[in-house]
Assembly symmetry: C2
Homo-oligomer: 339 residues x 2
């Protein structure tokens, strides 16, 4: 018999389809692993030497002739800092200019070095770059939410191989984010505690879904995972906004994030995935009701009509099993793979 | 510059990415068209003669030896009518048995005859079968929501080619559906009118996004379409629940639905799509606040990290352009294609 589980951060239900569940190893992709890509491609606009093929950089780390991270406006920006944010309303049709920002963070000069394989110090520099872009965008009073995300692989929605992250700064707080914030606020009002801190504590106490721990963070496959191998990285230090992360937390996060992605890579043959940093709306970042966190969504299954029509996800893997599989997985391979 | 548009039925925002927008014809799949499939496959469990390979039918239309539509419990049911619907709660982890129903409606005996190509009378019988299953499931007092949906093609989440629809009866009203219902109720309380009736009237008056009309229904590409060629079929006759559709509406809907799917098939080379019937929760079906409607979601693009992390969709096609393209598209081909 299957099981219905509710995500306490969204109230969304998930069907854990035990009967049709696959064993964790059955999700292995068994296909090309992207580390076999060349380190440089002449035709890649993000590779060094091709800087003229992209918009002018808005930030460069390292030295200009020898950059380590390069931030550029997205050539096909979804939102641009032009016009205003006034809503126009004709009957039931409400719209506004597509005001905002949309940048690409080229994560490193190497075409084939993904986060799982970067030196730890480089991952640290990358997360500092994320924080810098957050802080830069929040200066604009029109910006209400900043979404940092990564599409790794075609099934995750990218066509460009070169490792990159995107940042979108939005002039509207979408209901999707407002709802999470409101649910956390209600929990805080009722209990005097942060919902996410409570959830992290409950998960640590249960233990069975934890995949990694460090001084400042916990990585886990949540109780109501919507997707097989869905992974959350939750801070131990309460903080609503990713923009307020401390340097010592960044160092610690770099190790845990790299290790988590390396294990996913090794255990599932380099799965396509999305990585999302959830954070409070800009105007709420100093309040204590919410907690920023990272979600990693491997794209191993497809949302079908049922998911699109009900918001209920059918998960064909039990998070207790996938978490045990990941915990016990020993990463073997070249020296650089050591975790 | 792009445009932000808000869906009045969900308050969700969509970014209409005009600059990166494709022309409507660029969404053509240009691949295998499924009507080239054989009419019968020996290895297909849904083809006639293979009835023993599926669970016993819960309903059969036509005669048993010569069925026209066959309804079976899903062999890998996500929900089953076993146990109770009591919630169990340990700390923040809330769960219940996977109580419910999950059926497959085998739409016709032919392996390759999709709705777009069925005789109109058969589409009518199929929609009556949908209504019958709805009415059957709603007798169970534990059932709170009934979701009728269809996955056409691999990108829409199906692996079985033979034309089929699924019905899931859920013991919980998910927030996804409750929210739509609440927004419609608020509009009703404020204006004394149905939100969906107002929206349909506004769309008909604007005209530019209409793709088809009949006595009782309107087909359109909504103002805040999340997906290219997203199509809604909205009743003209106010009615919260699909379960209460009248026979004369079914006849009319059959023609419009078939014609709409045929045009999508011809215009885009048989795109993969999901079809969803949105309807009020069972306990609210007699109230006037909501309106049932059909959504057809061609799966031409992928939700990436931005969509998964913000709930804001980036649509790379303008619904005004796709609607004009579909309106002007003249279906050519074998006689059976006439619309």
């Amino acid at each position: 018999m299957s099981e219905l589980r509710q995500d306490p951060t969204t109230y969304d239900w998930v069907i854990m389809a035990k009967e049709r569940a696959k064993r964790p190893h059955e999700f292995k992709k068994g296909a090309r692993v992207r580390t076999d890509l060349p380190a440089f491609r002449k035709d890649c606009p993000f590779c060094p030497g091709n800087e003229a093929r992209t918009p002018e950089a808005s930030a460069v780390y390292g030295s200009p002739g020898n950059w380590s991270i390069r931030v550029i406006p997205n050539k096909y920006a979804a939102l641009t800092p032009v016009g205003d944010t006034a809503r126009e309303e004709i009957k039931l049709f409400r719209k506004s200019h597509g005001y905002g920002r949309h940048e690409v963070i080229i994560e490193n000069p190497l075409h084939n070095q993904f986060i799982a394989f970067m030196p730890e110090a480089h991952v640290e520099e990358l997360i500092r770059a994320y924080r810098d872009r957050y802080k830069e965008f929040r200066k604009d009073p029109n910006i209400k939410v900043i979404i940092i995300f990564k599409n790794h692989g075609e099934a995750a929605g990218t066509s460009l191989e070169h490792p990159h992250t995107q940042v979108v700064a939005s002039p509207v707080v979408p209901p999707f984010i407002r709802r999470r914030y409101e649910i956390a606020t209600r929990h805080y009002d009722n209990t005097g505690r942060c919902l996410y801190c409570d959830l992290r504590s409950d998960e640590v106490e249960a233990g069975v879904r934890i995949v990694g721990e460090s001084d400042h963070f916990v990585a886990l496959h949540p109780f109501a995972s919507r997707y097989p191998f869905e992974t959350w990285i939750m801070p131990r230090v309460h903080n609503s906004s990713f923009g307020r992360i401390h340097d010592n937390e960044i160092a610690d996060l770099s190790r845990l994030l790299r290790g988590t992605l390396l294990k996913l890579h090794a255990a599932l043959d380099d799965p396509d995935y999305n990585l999302i940093i959830h954070t409070a709306p800009v105007d709420d970042e100093h309040k204590t009701y919410y907690m920023w966190h990272i979600q990693i969504i491997p794209r191993l299954t497809l949302a079908a009509g049922f998911e699109l029509g009900s918001g209920i996800y059918i998960n064909t893997a039990m998070p207790e099993e996938t978490a045990a599989f990941i915990r016990d997985f020993s990463v073997q391979g070249p020296e650089k793979w050591t975790i």
